[in-house]
Every structure is written in C-alpha cells, then in structure tokens.
Amino acid sequence: MAGFAVISGNRRSAGRCYIYLYLPTLPIRRMGRQLGWDSTRPAGIYQTENNIEKVTFLCDLARAQGLCPGMSVADARARQPDIQLALSDRNADRAVLSALARWAWRYSPRTGTDNSGPGLWIDMTGASHLYGGTDKVIDDIKKRCHLAELPVWIAAAPYYAAARALACHDRAAAQGLVALSGRRALLSRLCELPVTALTTDNDTLQALSQAGLRRIVHFLPLSQAELAVRYGPDFVRGWAVLRGDHDESPAPVTALQPVRATRSWPEPVAGYETLAAMIAEMTDELAATLTRRELAARSFELGWQRTDSTTGRLYFHLSRPGADKKILHRLFCEAAGQIDAEFGIDYSWIQAYRLSVDRPVTALLGTESEALSSSQTDHMLDILAIKLGPEKVRRVYPRAFWHIADSTVSQPLGSADASCHNWLDDGGAAFSAPRPIRLLAPPEAVHVVALMPDHPPAMLVWRRRSLKIVRATGPERVGPRWWDPAHAHMKTRDYYRIETESGQRLWIYRSGLAEREERCEWFVEGYFA
C-alpha cells in the first residue's frame, strides 16, 4: 500500500455519488428478442476487428459450456456447434441503453449511458436521501431488474470512473456495492481490480501481462514517469482518472421533446362527426408515434385553429404515463363535443408532453408485454377525472399539524406521489390519538352542562335534542400555532371524547380556558365509529 503515498488528495468528489449499472447480458437479450433466439441454446454476439470476428458477449449458458469473450467465432462454433451468433449492432444497443437511462430519471434527473459498454450511470448526488439512501436505491434497481430477469452489477462511488470500474470488474458488484465510506477504503478496493479496469488496448494489456502486472496493485510501486515511458501517457491518464485525480464526467441523456400529430385541411372542417373522425385519426397517429419511440405521456393538448386564425385548446391528463391507442381514444372520446369550430377548422394538432419512459424495465426489453398497458384501475380513474373533473378525484396526504383540519391535505390524483407518504409508519392505530371517523365542517356549537368549568360536560343540547353523557375521556389540549397569523384569534381547545346514553360517540371541544378567564364555548366536531 505504499502507492497511496503518491495519490494526491482529491476533494472535488466529496459528497458526490454515482451509481453505475453494468448490464452484461443486455446486448444478447436485445438480439435474442429481435431474432427470436431459443433460450435453451448458447448464444453470443461478435464483432469484427482487423478482419477477425471475435465474440464480445456471451450468455450464461455459453459461459458455463466453456466459451469466453475474446475467442474467435470459428473457435466458438468449433466448441459449440449449436451456438447462436449474431453481429453486434451498437446503435440498437445504444438506443435501448438510452431508453433505460431515461427510465432511470425516476431516481435522478442526471443519468446517462456508457459509450464503451452495456452500462448506464445515475448521478445520485443530493437525491439519494429521497429514497432512504443509496442502499435503498440499489435495492430498488436490483428488484426491478430481477423482475425482468436481467442480471445487473451495481456499484456506487464518489465519482464516475470508480463506480464504473467497480461495477464492471468487482465481483461484489453482483450483489450491489457501495463504496462511499472513504477515499482510502475506495482506493484499496480499486487496487484489487484487474488492469483491464484501466485500459482495453490489446497491446498495452499484452505488455502488462508479460511484465506480470495483472492487478492495479502490482504497478503501484512504479512512478508515473516509469509508467508513462513503458505504457504510454494514456495509461497514466487512465490511472489518474480512476483514482479521482482527473474528473471525467460523461454527458447525460437529454430531455425528450414533445410529440405531435397535426392535420392541415384544404377546406375548413366542422360538425361533430367530422371533428370526431379528425381526432380519432390524429390519436391513432400519436399513439403509433409514441409506441414506435417507446415513450409514454401524461399530458396531452388538443388544439385547433379556426378560419379566422383564432385558436382553441383542450388539455387532458392521465394518472400515469400512457401510450396505448385504446386509452387515448377513451381520453379524447368526448373532446369533439367540446370544440367550438365556429365557421370551420383549418389546422388541428394533438401534442403529447410530460413524456417519460416510466415503464418497467421488463417492458423496455419486451419480456412482459402486458406491462406496457396500464391497469384497468388507472383507466377508470382517468375516465372519472375526465367526466367529473380532475379536482374531483383525490388522495389525502398527512401534514404535521395537531389541528385536525390542518392535519391532512387533499390533492388531485396526478399532482403528488403517494409512495412518498406512508400513514402507518408511526404505528397506525396502535399509537394514534383518538380521532373521529367523520368530521363536521364547520363544527357545530352546542350548549352544555358541566360540573366544573374544566370538566367534560354531563349533558349537552345539540340539534334540538338533549343528550345525557354517560362517559367521557380527555382532555386533549391543542393550542393555536402562535407563529401562524391565521391562528392569531384562535383559542386553545380541550378535546373530549364522549358517549351518550344511546351509544353515540362524539368528539367535542371547549374553545377557551376558564383559568385564563376566557369565554368558553363548546362545539361538536365529529363522530367516532
């Protein structure tokens, strides 16, 4: 470990976190899907280098039968005559990787692909805490890839080069490796990697092999000048990048542009049937475009330009990204009736935006075709949102306030992510204070008879009925938020749970405290179950 002395301390990567996903079987899976390969037979992909066809990727079955990457195609065929081989298609592989990188936007807005191999990276700097830490993110990725039966080697490191090297060459990456604890520990792990983590140049690899330098730790005693003389400046630069002295951040994938389907009419069109046919035609085209580009959209704009050059627009939203033709037809089925064409429409368009590749990995690889289609529940909620209005279909989210009216917030379905909130994290029913099942808004004033001013009532008059109270529990005192101007005129409340003779359970409160000589008023705020 004497080599650590020459490593300059680089603090540029402090606090950063890169996750690298190495997908060794992705090219074979893609090619197998494209060519309809038999999964029970060995398969591989080759490429031509200097007029020699060399195998670059092999499936697990082929590896188990003794084949290894780097051997010639003739050798591979000689050993396994039934092997399925195909020429590598890097553009197609890169397209799938780009799609996967956009799928990874669910974790971080900065993701990208590795131009030199089947891998992608995620810059989780400042984002991992949203998912409970880097470990949780890695677990989630592994779970999703496992569902797709896609082996993935994952490593997290403070900079890209280290994450890539660990993911591709460290065996621990098969289980998910996090090397964020410290620079010394990271370097000691990097030193154990083979020299192929530094360079892929065959001449350099051969020279290193002849010198007996198979692992990075073997050449640490050598100075940089010696390394540069023996193996060239690129090798030295690669080592500097790997240990983090030179920053080498790849470019991230770019955001998706909206997809449009347009129609220009030589004569103005009008009438319900014509407009419905026009919308159906554009919907078909849009769905075909989205499916071809393997995209899904959450929001759609239907626009039209009338003969007098005025324009109109309608907006539609889905509860989750969709591209299916049936979904889009149901989404736009009532749109024709809402278009005011006046003297006719010259030009119309449908634009899909808020695009994402928010589909399971399985769908991207085509192993689970039904994953492409949304579930029936989402369709139904979309239909309800269209019929009743998006603000009528809602979820509730908790807020950290004691006042019952402020303790929850109701939001339209598409506006927030439900998975971020778990109501039962803090024990659910076991540790929650008594809360009514139904709330009256606003609370109803009641007249009460109590033994003492700070006692629960013994009788109350509510909705013209006198109710005798047989038992009560409380109080739970909730004060106004002194820092909130909206609560400036609110008094402290004492909440009681009471039960009447008939078994009716009410949540009542006294507004104002007798010991502060405030005027006390009683209200019923809810019913218990």
Binding site: Q376, T377, H379, M380, L381, I383, L384, K387, L388, K392, V393, R394, R395, V396, Y397, P398, W402, H403, I404, S407, T408, A418, W423, L424, G428, A429, A430, F431, S432, A433, P434, R435, P436, I437, R438, L439, L440, A441, D454, H455, A472, T473, G474, P475, E476, R477, V478, G479, P480, W482, R497, S502, G503, Q504, R505, L513, G526, Y527, F528, A529
Partner: protein
C-alpha cells in the same frame, strides 16, 4: 280456413319463441346468480353462516345507519380492512359528496385510528347524486380494486330511481371484481345482495374500553338469512368479535388494547393536570 290455420301457426311460433327467450333469460340469470364468487368473511361465525360464507364480492351491499353517527362508516371500514389485507396492493374507492352536511365527511386521521392506511384510499367527490352514482357504477365495473363505497345521501328518497339504480349497480358489480358498499341513511333494501343496519352498541364491560361497539343487523340477504348481534371492532388487530352478551372477546386482545391506550385514559381529569402546552406538544 287456411288463413286461420296460418295465424294459429304464427301465434304458436311466437309463443314458442317467447318461451325459448324466457328460458334462455332464466338460464342466464341462474348462471349469473350461481357463479361462485369470492367472499369476504367477517370472522364472525354466525354472520358468516347467515351470509352463506361472507360478503359476496361482485355484489353491492347496502349498509345503513343514522346520519348523525359514525357507526355505519366504521363498520364498512372494518370490513374494508379485512379486504385490504387480502388485496394488499389494490386501492379503495370512496365516492362521497363534496359537502359533509349533517353526517360530516370521512376523516383520514379517523381511518388511520381504525388501523387502515388512508394512503390507499382514492376519494371521488361529486355533489350531484346521479353523477356520484355514475362514478360508483364505473368503479364497480373495474377489476383490481379492493373495495368501493358510495354515500348515497338522499337518493333513496325516490323509490323508482332507487330501484333503477339498484338494478344498474347490480349489473355493473357483476362485470367487475370488487365488493361494493352503499352507505347512507335507512333505505329500502331493493335488489341489493344484502342489507344491513348498524347502530351504536352499548355492550361494553369496562368504562375505559373505547373500542367501537356496534349493534349490527343483517336485515335482508339474497343468499342467506337475517341475523343480528352486537359486535366489537378491535383497531389493533382489525378483528371483529361478538360482544360480551353474545360471546366473550379474547382476553389477550383486550389486555393489549387497554395497555396501549393507557395514555388516553384521562378520565374526568382537570385540564390543568395534563401537561399539554399551547402548541399542542406534550410536556411530560
């Protein structure tokens, strides 16, 4: 004569055709009614036997209760909790008017206090009763939902409208897979699968025991028989048990409940002794 004979044949053929159509319709209804559907068990032997195994899914059940109490809502939530435990990743749709009125609105904190996850509830708010029932009908036709509840409010006051909706909802529920509950004030049972009346029960032994206690009455059931009993719901375990008068609840469950809810036993204590400050934080 030939003409008369011809007319007779025509009449005979029409009669045969009608008979065949009726026979076909009867066979389809019989097949629909006798298809094995999943059932939601209450965990109460007598009620399960009265319902021939439990609440039938793909059907709508009417649960009524006084509008100024939360007993009927609580009973439906207790049933939904059992269903949500089976359908672990499916949501519950709750259709209700936007305004609470005299019966109030469902409270998420109260749902949590009964041991359910409000995050799995999707609320559909619509003030127009017909549109609200339309949303309920749409949800009933959908698969992948744990349960669907609709609050019908005053819709049942018009008998013809009520029976028409009962038939529509029955057909819609057969197309879906979820169990549906109609919740509201007392109403005719119409053609719903079962009709329930839930009122507060007072059959508790301990004055500190605040577990929900209901007097539950199965008033009508298409495949069962009426039954009534007092039922106690345990929010900790999610179990329904017969009240003391019917059969003693599990002693262990009672002990756990009393122990965990000891913090809320401020029985008739003066407010000044509780140690809650004005910001709602517990000091001691």
């Amino acid at each position: 004569m030939a003409l008369t004979h011809g007319r007779g044949n025509e009449f005979f053929c029409q009669k045969n055709h009608k008979a065949a159509a009726f026979a076909d319709l009867k066979a389809r209804i019989h097949a629909q009614e006798h298809t094995d559907t999943a059932r939601l068990s209450l965990g109460l032997g007598l009620f399960d036997r009265a319902l021939s195994g439990g609440f039938a899914c793909q059907h709508v059940h009417l649960v009524t209760g006084p509008c100024d109490q939360g007993s009927a809502s609580g009973f439906v939530l207790a049933l939904l909790r059992r269903q949500m435990a089976v359908c672990t990743d499916q949501p519950v749709i709750w259709c209700a008017p936007d305004y609470g009125g005299r019966s109030g609105q469902l409270c998420a904190e109260g749902i949590r206090a009964l041991g359910l996850d409000p995050g799995r509830f999707i609320f559909v708010h619509e003030n127009h009763p017909v549109r609200l029932m339309g949303a309920f009908e749409e949800a009933l036709q959908t698969t992948g939902i744990a349960g669907i509840v609709a609050e019908y409010a005053m819709l049942a006051s018009k008998a013809d409208q009520w029976s028409r909706w009962a038939q529509r909802l029955r057909r819609a529920a057969r197309a879906g897979s979820a169990v549906g509950f109609l919740l509201g004030p007392p109403a005719p049972s119409a053609s719903f699968e079962s009709s329930w009346s839930v009122t507060p029960g007072t059959d508790y032994q301990d004055k500190y025991d605040w577990r929900p206690c209901w007097s539950v009455s199965l008033e009508a059931s298409r495949t069962g028989r009426p039954h009534a009993a007092n039922v106690i719901y345990d929010p900790l375990s999610g179990r329904l048990s017969a009240a003391v008068s019917d059969s003693a609840p599990t002693a262990a469950s009672d002990a756990v409940y009393m122990q965990r809810h000891a913090q809320h036993r401020f029985h008739f204590q003066p407010a000044a002794r509780q140690g809650w400050d004005d910001a709602g934080m517990m000091l001691a």
